[in-house]
């Protein structure tokens, strides 16, 4: 295919070459070198700028504190850490992003069941608060809400704050929350007076920035790239079911049964 047409096209090639006789010998190396250099410079500059912009857009990891209930960087926050677990109680890992609408569905459908199982010591409940939706939605509301929740955890009100956030999810995904809204969640969660002042200085200092980044990295490394993801003793639990009619959340009875089945007697 390639040989014949080229041979037959020689007269045309000759014409083209003749037409460009003057430009060919001198311009080539300069043109090639210049274009390659420009392309390379554009690529490097674009990459550096994008990387820098994204670093600033995310949290700049100022604080390195661990919230109470989290044993290490990358480890989920254990709710009701002071409750004595029943023998053989399984671990329920909940991966969620405060801006994720399906996480809101999960919370409304199963939140109270999950919390009551944890309060009774029937499960060890670990929340992995992810923040990747900030990148996808182009805002910073997931990180700010997570910071608010962990600062609330420092005041002993993690679950209360968590519930406030989900009760007040914006109807439009991506609208996020104002700082004033997040502060209202804190006071509604029971942090008032000096506790609210402490919460405000905690969030202002990005106290848990490094922990928040570590959760995102560890969850993704563990294969969790979407929310909500719920794992019972490490196995994915299908808390949301999708069919032609839309998304339905597992019933409280189904969850309780699954937890019982996973409990080692």
């Amino acid at each position: 295919m390639s040989k014949t047409p080229q041979k037959q096209g020689t007269s045309r090639q000759a014409k083209i070459q003749a037409a460009q006789k003057s430009g060919r010998s001198g311009a080539n190396p300069i043109v090639i070198g210049t274009v390659v250099a420009i392309v390379a410079i554009i690529a490097v500059v674009a990459f550096v700028v994008l990387t820098a912009v994204n670093k600033n857009g995310g949290s700049s990891a100022s604080g390195t504190a661990l919230p109470p209930g989290a044993s290490a960087m990358g480890k989920g926050l254990v709710a009701d850490a002071d409750v004595t677990l029943q023998p053989g109680a399984p671990t329920l890992d909940v991966y969620e992003d405060f801006q994720c609408p399906y996480c809101g569905d999960l919370e409304h459908g199963l939140g109270s069941t999950i919390e009551s199982l944890a309060a009774q010591g029937k499960i060890r409940l670990a929340y992995h608060i992810m923040t990747f939706l900030d990148d996808n939605l182009g805002n910073d509301a997931s990180v700010r809400a997570a910071e608010g929740a962990f600062c609330a955890a420092a005041g002993g009100k993690f679950l209360e704050y968590h519930n406030q956030v989900y009760s007040n999810q914006p109807t439009q995904e991506g609208a996020g929350w104002t700082d004033a809204q997040l502060a209202t969640f804190a006071s509604n969660a029971g942090l008032t007076g000096s506790a609210l002042t402490t919460w405000k200085s905690c969030t202002a200092a990005d106290t848990y920035a490094a922990y928040i980044a570590s959760i995102e990295k560890q969850s993704s490394t563990d294969g969790v790239t979407g929310t909500p993801t719920v794992k019972l003793n490490g196995t994915d639990l299908a808390v949301l079911k999708t069919d032609s009619s839309g998304v339905t959340v597992m019933t409280p009875a189904e969850l309780t049964a699954a937890v019982q089945a996973a409990t080692k007697s």
């Binding site: 390639s2 080229q6 043109v31 392309v39 690529a43 674009a46 990459f47 994008l50 990747f132 490394t221």
Partner: protein
């Protein structure tokens, strides 16, 4: 003799022109798709990184940088193809990109992940009934064929290679 040399040359030249035109079409299809795909992602590098993470192939930090760099590479390769500049080199890169994409989507499919390819932004996990692996792979195979044509025969009409270098 009824057939003159001039009569023979016309169909041959026409044949070359047709092949050149196919090359131009291949350049424009692959190049424009790459530019659009890159442009839709380049303003959201974090989301692009998340889409790469969703394939669960690369270590987290490596995936992040690949996610940042990929849209830039796509735009540059796409521009070179549309301009017809360094066509063969750009076509090799474009074809390699497509092979990587096909492999990535194929392994996600084979492993039972349920993700959007994130080819034109978006990406990440989707419901099992919302995956479009077959369609995504078919599209990328078509684009890879455009690239392969140009690797084999980079000559085309209306390109800077011919204008500047006469090739």
């Amino acid at each position: 003799m009824s057939v003159t040399e001039a009569d023979l040359e016309v169909p041959a030249e026409r044949h070359t022109r047709t092949l050149d035109l196919v090359g131009t079409l291949a350049r424009l299809i692959l190049g424009l798709v790459l530019i659009v795909a890159g442009a839709l992602k380049v303003t959201k590098p974090g989301a692009s990184a998340n889409a790469v993470h969703a394939y669960q192939v690369l270590p987290y930090d490596v995936g992040t940088y690949v996610g940042y760099a990929l849209p830039i590479v796509e735009i540059i390769v796409g521009l070179l193809l549309v301009l017809g500049l360094f066509t063969r080199v750009a076509a090799v890169l474009g074809t390699l990109l497509m092979v990587v994409f096909i492999t990535g989507i194929g392994q996600a499919w084979a492993r039972g992940l349920t993700i959007d390819c994130g080819c034109f932004g978006g990406g990440g996990p989707v419901n099992a009934n919302q995956t479009k692996y077959g369609l995504e792979i078919a599209r990328d195979v078509g684009l890879a064929l455009c690239g392969a044509w140009l690797v084999r025969r980079p000559a085309s009409l209306a390109g800077l290679d011919r204008l500047w270098f006469g090739s």
